[in-house]
């Protein structure tokens, strides 16, 4: 089944077909029965079934490094060589890549999407734009599947932007609400900031990969794609890092490219400091929050980092780790004081995404991705559960809830399972994945003691997670109803399209990690960094990863692998030493890893139970009073409640300066550019005035003067014409006399 291209095609195109049908019917004013909800749900449901088959096939094969790509020629740049033949300089084919990561992402996306579709049938039932909602869900599913299936960075970017667009449409689905309209703009613009970084990163990679491809006419067409994952990895892998034309990119160039690429993930996966859009995106309908802002789209950044893992140098990964770690604890602190049930979940999502990124950054390749897998199910469950609560109660404020477990027993049980999972209680799925991450972080910190802050971030974040998630459960479902009126009017749970997806997700939450105590192993084997991506030491800068002392001190004293560019063939006597050192380092690493994982397991259970207990003693048994502690730790509480003033900081230091710049540019435009144009116009007007004056005064004056002279002289002359015959006669006589006299005088 995996060898056939039909199934990925079907999974990709069914939601697109549903979207196109919705759009066409909308345009032609054809009414679909039930507004077409069955169409979208069926399309994605079929995709889920197919993905499951692919997944089962992949797992049963036991080949974690299975890869299959199909591509079609989409854009080729040709040139005429010296031999007069046309050669392909480079090509950008569009294609699918099916491997273990793709299949896992497909399962996550299609299953969560299907359940959200089903849930929406109940949740959005009374919405006037019910059909449009499903068409948006379909275009989102299509975009996300495209993103996941693409075999090159360019296709990934296309899917990335499509996902951003559909997210914008869905967040702003209730665009009548000003808050929703503002939130969708904010999400879109914040993501653009990250995407710009990602684009720069892709272009930097392109500058490295394009050169060796362009001039090599012997390469087959498949290797002419400068952006396919395969070629990018090939070029940046240690051997071919020095490009043919003699240009050597320093490893720091790759580090910077990786950090820029990661900026895309910072935007999409809501990492600090671009996390601000995700809490605001809660203005969208709750199924959207479950689909986009918990399970799929926000996971795209983590997916991208996983997919491009070999591109990130140790320095870039360190940057990633600190970003993720800080985000994990930072968002968790905000979630502690949030009162809106969806806001708690939103900040929890940001925090959990931080965990994934932290795990990836600490070289826990399978750990971060594992957490994506488990988190998708329990976070979607939490969001859908909160949706069920909101649907029943028509309120999102936890201060108006309480005691709902009697009214909403199914929702309560499902959400309790998800809460235990996210808090990290064994043997639920969240425990395994979080334990993997914390283990990786602890291993990293034990090998690099200067980064001891990272496990502190991790464990504190985990404790806070347990605390705020149990706070959510206690405030919502336990105790006495704080708003008896709302409680009385809440619709009780029943088995319908709202609770059924919750139950399915609860089962997935219980068993997605494997369901047994050693459950995490299968995922670790399935997505194994060294098996899938090849040995670590062959990665750029890989020597640094395991602190191979021998390699560092003997082979590459500076620790830089590429810049030295020393020959590494069998004749080099240092190679044997290198191999020996490698073996030694590996053993040492495995020992540390084992120790760290044991400690991480104990510690993570401790912090989870501790967080939950503190929460219990705060909100169930009034042992700690939240009010008293809020006043005691006022500075901390202030920061948490005000979300650490990040929005205000942005407003103060980004938005206002931009507006000022805007004002300045506007005034420049108005005063200077318009001024210049107006001045030209004024000059023309004045010149015209002057020219008109000259025309009127001098040219007309000349003409009129001539006429006036003639008139006035004629007027003078006419007085001679007295009409009196005697005067004429006298004049004639006098004239004659004068003529005669003159005649005589002159002659």
């Amino acid at each position: 089944m995996l060898e056939s291209v039909v199934w990925p095609w079907l999974i990709l195109l069914l939601p697109l077909a549903a979207f196109v049908t919705h759009t066409l019917c909308g345009a032609m004013k054809w009414k679909l029965p039930h507004k077409g909800d069955w169409l979208s749900t069926g399309a994605i449901g079929a995709g889920a079934v197919l993905s499951t088959f692919l997944f089962a096939d992949m797992v049963s094969r036991g080949e974690p490094n299975f890869r299959q790509t199909w591509s079609v020629d989409w854009l080729s740049i040709l040139w005429k060589g010296d031999d007069g033949q046309l050669h392909t300089r480079f090509a950008l084919p569009m294609g699918f890549l099916v491997d273990n990561i793709t299949v896992i992402m497909l399962v996550v996306v299609t299953w969560v999407s299907t359940l959200v579709h089903v849930f929406s049938m109940g949740y959005m039932h009374d919405d006037p734009r019910y059909g449009r909602f499903f068409s948006y869900l379909s275009i989102f599913s299509f975009s996300m599947i495209w993103l996941v299936l693409s075999d090159n960075l360019f296709g990934l970017m296309i899917g990335w932007e499509l996902v951003g667009l559909s997210s914008y449409l869905l967040i702003g689905f209730w665009f009548e609400k000003p808050a929703a309209a503002a939130a969708c703009k904010k999400a879109f613009i914040t993501n653009r900031v990250g995407d710009l970084g990602m684009l720069i990163g892709i272009l930097m990679l392109l500058s490295m990969t394009l050169r060796p491809i362009l001039d090599d006419t012997s390469l087959p067409i498949e290797q002419k794609n400068p952006l396919s994952y395969e070629n990018v990895f090939r070029v940046v892998s240690a051997g071919s890092y020095e490009v043919k034309s003699g240009d050597v990119f320093p490893i720091s160039f790759l580090t910077v490219a990786g950090i820029f690429l990661f900026f895309g993930a910072v935007g999409k996966s809501a990492q600090f400091p671009l996390h601000v859009w995700l809490p605001d995106a809660m203005e969208g309908p709750t199924p959207v929050s479950a689909l986009i802002h918990a399970a799929t789209m926000v996971a795209a950044g983590v997916y991208m980092v996983t997919r491009c893992y070999r591109l990130f140098t140790p320095d870039a990964l360190l940057f990633i780790a600190y970003t993720g770690g800080f985000t994990a604890i930072f968002a968790a602190t905000i979630a502690v004081t949030a009162n809106d049930i969806k806001k708690v979940l939103a900040y929890s999502t940001v925090s959990q995404l931080g965990f994934m990124v932290l795990g990836l950054g600490c070289w826990g390749y399978s750990a971060g991705f594992f957490h994506l897998w488990t988190h998708a199910f329990f976070k979607a469950l939490l969001f859908l559960g909160s949706g069920a609560v909101i649907h029943a109660l028509h309120s999102q404020d936890m201060r108006e809830m309480g005691g709902l477990r009697h009214k909403l027993p199914i929702t309560f049980v499902c959400m309790l399972i998800a809460t235990c999972a996210i808090s990290g209680f064994p043997p639920l799925s969240g425990f395994w994945s979080k334990d993997q991450i914390l283990g990786a972080v602890l291993t990293f910190a034990m090998e690099h003691p200067q980064h001891a802050l990272l496990p502190i971030f991790g464990f504190c974040g985990a404790a806070l997670t347990a605390f705020y998630m149990f706070r959510l459960i206690f405030l919502t479902f336990c105790g006495k109803p704080r708003d008896p009126h709302k409680y009385e009017h809440a619709h009780p749970d029943q088995w319908d399209v709202i609770t059924a997806p919750l139950a399915v997700l609860a089962i997935l939450t219980l068993f997605s990690a494997g369901g047994t105590l050693s459950g995490e192993r299968w995922f670790g084997d399935f997505v194994n960094e060294e098996q899938v991506l090849g040995p670590r030491e062959e990665a750029p800068g890989g020597g640094e990863r395991h602190r191979w002392h021998v390699q560092r001190t003997v082979l590459f004293p500076s620790g830089a692998l590429v810049e030295e560019a020393q020959p590494l063939d069998d004749q080099n006597p240092l190679v044997a030493l290198h191999a020996e050192g490698r073996e030694e380092a590996r053993k040492e690493h495995e020992h540390t890893e084992h120790k760290a994982h044991t400690w991480a397991m104990v510690l993570s259970v401790c912090v989870a139970v501790g967080g939950a207990l503190v929460s219990y003693f705060t909100y169930m048994v009034p042992f700690f009073s939240p009010q008293v502690w809020a006043t005691r730790l006022l500075w901390l509480y202030d920061g948490m409640v005000n979300k650490w003033w990040i929005d205000e900081l942005y407003d103060r230091w980004v938005i206002q300066p931009l507006l000022l710049l805007n004002d300045f540019l506007k005034s420049f435009d108005e005063d200077w550019v318009d001024g210049f144009v107006n001045m030209t116009a004024q000059f023309t007007v004045h010149f015209s005035d002057y020219s008109g004056w000259v025309d009127n005064t001098y040219v007309d004056g000349l003409v009129n003067g001539t006429a006036d002279t003639i008139v006035s002289s004629a007027r003078a002359m006419r007085s001679i014409q007295t009409g009196n015959i005697k005067q004429y006669l006298a004049a004639a006589v006098i004239g004659l006399t004068v003529v005669v006299v003159l005649y005589n005088v002159i002659l």
Binding site: M717, R718, S719, I720, Q721, T722, G723, N724, I725, K726, L729, A730, V733
Partner: protein
Amino acid sequence: MSLLDAYPLQHYLLVSAALFALGIFTLVARKNAVAMLMGVELILNSANLNFVAFSRYTVGNFSGHLFAIFVILLAAAEAAVALGIVIGIFQNYGDVDADALDGLKG
């Protein structure tokens, strides 16, 4: 002694000139159109006198006389026409005062 010897040409010419001057004076000074016609007659006759005198003193034949006879003839015709005009003027204006006839004044 003949007339030719008794009076030289200049005498005739002086008389003629006096006649001409009187005619001009009459034309210019008199308001009455009929009187002005009379002035015209004087001028014509001064010309006649010149014709005859020059003919007699310088040429010696009668061609100047012939001109004088023609002039007299023409003066008669002219007088007839001019008097007709004067009558017309009188009928139109009720007067024969030449100063009042300024219909051509510019």
